[in-house]
Amino acid sequence: MVRTAFKSVFAHKVRLLLTGVAIVLGVSLVAGTFIFTDTINAQFDSLLGEIYEGTDVSVRSAGGDFSAATEPFPASVYDDIIAVDGVMAADGGVSSVSAQVLDSDGNPIGGQGPPTLGFSWGDTEALNPIKIQDGNGRPPAGPGEIAIDLNSARNANLELGDMVTVVAFNGPEDFVLVGLTSFGDADSLLGATLISFELEEARSVFGYGDELTGIVVQAEAGVDAADLTAAIAEVLPEGVEAVTGETEQNEQAAEISEGLSFLSVGLLAFAGVSIFVGGFIIQNTFRIIIAQRTRELALLRALGATGRQVRSMVIIEALIVGVVGSVVGIAFGFLLALGIRALMNAVGLGLTQSGMVLLPRTVVIGMTVGVLLTVASSLLPARKASRIPPIAALREDASRTPRRSLHKRAVVGAAVTGTGVALLAIGLFLGVSNPLLYVALGAAIGFIGVSILAPLAARPLADIIGWPMPKLFGVSGQLAKENTKRQPRRTASTASALMVGVALVVFFSVFASSTKASVSETVFELFPADITFQSTNQTDPEVPAVISPEFADDLRMHEELEVVSAMQFGKAVVGGDEKLIAAVDPATIDQVFSLGASDGVVAALVEPETIIVSTSYLEDSGHDVGDTLTIEYLTTGTVDTTIVGVFEANDFSDFAISTDTYVANFRYEGDAVIFANTAEGVSVDEAQDAVAPTVASYGNVKAQTKSDIVTEAENQIDQALVLFTGLLLFAVIIAILGITNTLTLSVYERTQEIGLLRAVGMTRRQVRRMVRWEAVIVATFGALLGVGIGIVLGWAVVKALADEGLGAFSIPVGQVILALILAAGAGVLAAIWPARKAARMNILDAISTE
């Protein structure tokens, strides 16, 4: 049987080729994701290895429950460490992520993608991964001096001796470029802008006192790093900790791979969609091939093969196709990973062109996914094959297994669809712990359910979609329509594959469109301010980047502005969980931002150690106004804080304190958002013009009106939509290949018929047209189902997120129509090859019955 299976695979290689493509695409997405993230991980690992090469012990502020600790500690700690036995050298320094570099024309250098990282220069060469090669100047040695990494300097056309501006804690300050730095041997640290100052200067620029944010220690030869770490820990004050260099390196590696796993989970989700769609195609192909081989399989049965043997043969065939497809898929994954990397580099991520990393895990998962997918998809067709009676070898009509009753199909389909819908509802509305899993599973099962029901709709829908075709395209159109109705199951199954991709695209469109509709509502409701100022940098996805504290003061100098109110954010541990806390100016915030609090509530924040919380937090936590909330700050430790009121608008944060309380408990580096209203009689345009020079001098500040904010948010949503649609393209391509595959097999099956049509006078062009319009009907059928499901899914998700401020449900009619048109166009593309094949068919071969 195995040999027969092998021979059969080779005999049907063209037919199986397209099946193979479906596997290859699905597996390549999976493998490509792993190869890419593994490669990046390896790259970061080697980078971290370089950074920590000479570091035996790292001393830092004890983070406690905080995920990222960059808190300063007294500089005196350094002297205590130097005195510890076994310490050969130690470097203490400060660092910051809140700086922006401008060239002499005031144009920002870096900071718009990869961050700007500021350091004090470490004098111990073994402990400092930042180097200055011969001919690239010297380290910064005093006030007014800066060193910048070679890559950034080159991109900004900077030379030694040039003046640059750094905007940090003190606002814009000018420096002379004295050194061009390398990171290890590389010109760049993954595209980040690296700036270095002499220690005292760094403290001033970044707003530190007589403090350090970290000390790195080199052990004497023969001294164990762990022992030295323990010895150093003994001399450290409370709130400062020592870890081995290795520990810190591992921590950072873990953090990076966690960040990457977010990316890989996202990519794998889309790979999952492609694989799911591939399953439809593979199952369909095997079913058609088996139908076409009925006589051959029946002959095997007549010659004594058992049903089980026939079934095994089909499954072994699937296994062979699955293995070959998966191997090729993994190879394609390599190319895909190269492509993703090129894309990331194109947006300035500066990933090196090192070798790709292929871990055994990637091969195992890729092969497993590909082979399981193929074999699982062949099970139903294989079962059908095993039920072919031997008599079918002799009598054509004996092969027609009685069609499963429509009633039974309707019941099964409705049950499966219902299960999917139920899971979706649980995930969306019942507040379970992992809603995404329920939603994804529900959607997948729902898709399968609809695909079971789809054959019931195939005939009526084909009639509707194909209604104009006989009128427009004569007999070609009529035959195209009739052909789609011949095997509703085949038509529906082919269309279902496209349905999945289209449904998800439409779902994202509906979601994006609804979000956009809600965004403008929210912005105009929340932001009464005329102009909003925010940083253009991004350092931490959760905490907004800050603008130098000087900026708000500069704004207050402009008489065109009346109210200037700054807002800060910081993370603190509330009730055991790390939360984002907003800080506002109680005196002015009401004029520029709608917290949705009753009169007098925000004003109560002027009392020290007070907080207001969102109504939803109050409900969930069981607290009452007047209760004491224990908050743990990184800088000041545990502080008992009184809840003095509630507010409604929790879009940003569930907690608000006053800026004074913030400054007392956080290290204040700058403002996250600054709101301003124009003075009486000054238009928004005039005010913007007036502050434009100030804004420009900081380089990393954007001034936006309410409609600017809406536009920006809309652009971001559109970009995300484009990205998701792009990732779904794989699934759509697989589905289109599925249409090609089904049509090719159908054309093959209808050889005689096409020959007859040609004999009685159908031109090749008319034959091509017939196949083409059939493809268009199938594609449109799938797209219509997809649009329906996508809209329903979008509606459900929007309803479920109504509490999160997603008020409006909006269908992007234009995009939906475009999707339908594109799907029909995809049908035309899908038909090119089978239509050609049909048109080129030799009439004699076609009509000779022998």
Partner: protein
């Protein structure tokens, strides 16, 4: 051979050669065959298996091309036509009845009958159409799909289709080959009637002397060449002639 004026010839083959394969493996299905088919006549082509009778029909009908020599429909040399013109010629001037698979399964009987006209974007001549289906006795089966018709009914629908566009010539390849004797006889009687009453030209390939006896004239092929012909044949005479050929 009967001499006829050129205007009385519906189709002819002139020294037709059809070779399949190359070199040692070359097979000459036609090896210099010459034959003429009179207008308004019912001609049967006979010969043992491998004599080239089907190949001759295919080449005359424009379904296949000769390796050398010429095939004409009327005075049109088929070799001068490109695929598109050949297709149009088949559509306008040629009708077909095959042994099996004559009908498009998705179209009902009526749609199948008018298919060549529909393909051409033309409307059938209503009187002529009614007359045909009347004679063929299929007027009550018109809205049935092929799968719902008996074999005999299917072949009669095919015959109606071949006639409906009033083609210059109808080619039939074992039209009764798959039918029981009663249905076969009905079909052949009808074909004969079409020739007698409507002056239709029919060329039919068959291996069955009883079938061939419905024709006005039988031509015999052997090894790809014309060897003999017989006018107003009877089954016995044909059988005798075939025995001589086989010997």
């Amino acid at each position: 051979m009967t001499t006829q004026t050129i205007t009385d010839i519906a189709a002819r083959m002139d020294n037709g050669v059809k070779t399949y394969g190359e070199g040692d493996a070359a097979v000459h299905a036609l090896n210099g065959a010459t034959a003429e088919f009179g207008r308004g006549r019912f001609t049967a082509i006979m010969g043992p298996s491998g004599s080239g009778k089907s190949t001759m029909l295919h080449c005359l009908a424009g379904l296949d091309t000769l390796t050398s020599g010429a095939a004409y429909i009327g005075d049109v040399d088929l070799a001068t036509l490109k695929d598109k013109d050949l297709t149009l010629l088949r559509r306008e001037r040629v009708g077909f009845i095959f042994q099996s698979f004559n009908l498009i399964p998705t179209l009902d009987a009526q749609e199948n009958i008018v298919l060549p006209l529909t393909i051409a974007g033309e409307k059938p001549d209503t009187d002529w159409y009614s007359q045909i289906i009347e004679i063929l006795g299929i007027s009550d089966r018109l809205d049935h799909l092929p799968a719902e018709l008996s074999g005999g009914q299917q072949q009669r629908v095919a015959a109606a289709r071949a006639l409906v566009s009033k083609p210059a010539i109808i080619f039939a390849d074992e039209p009764s080959g798959n039918l029981d004797s009663k249905s076969g006889a009905e079909l052949l009687a009808f074909m004969r009637r079409a020739v007698k009453e409507f002056e239709q030209t029919i060329v039919m390939v068959t291996h069955d002397p009883n079938t061939a006896a419905y024709a006005d004239r039988v031509i015999f092929l052997e090894d790809g060449v014309f060897v003999d012909e017989m006018h107003d044949p009877t089954p016995d005479a044909i059988l005798d002639r075939l025995k001589q050929l086989g010997a």
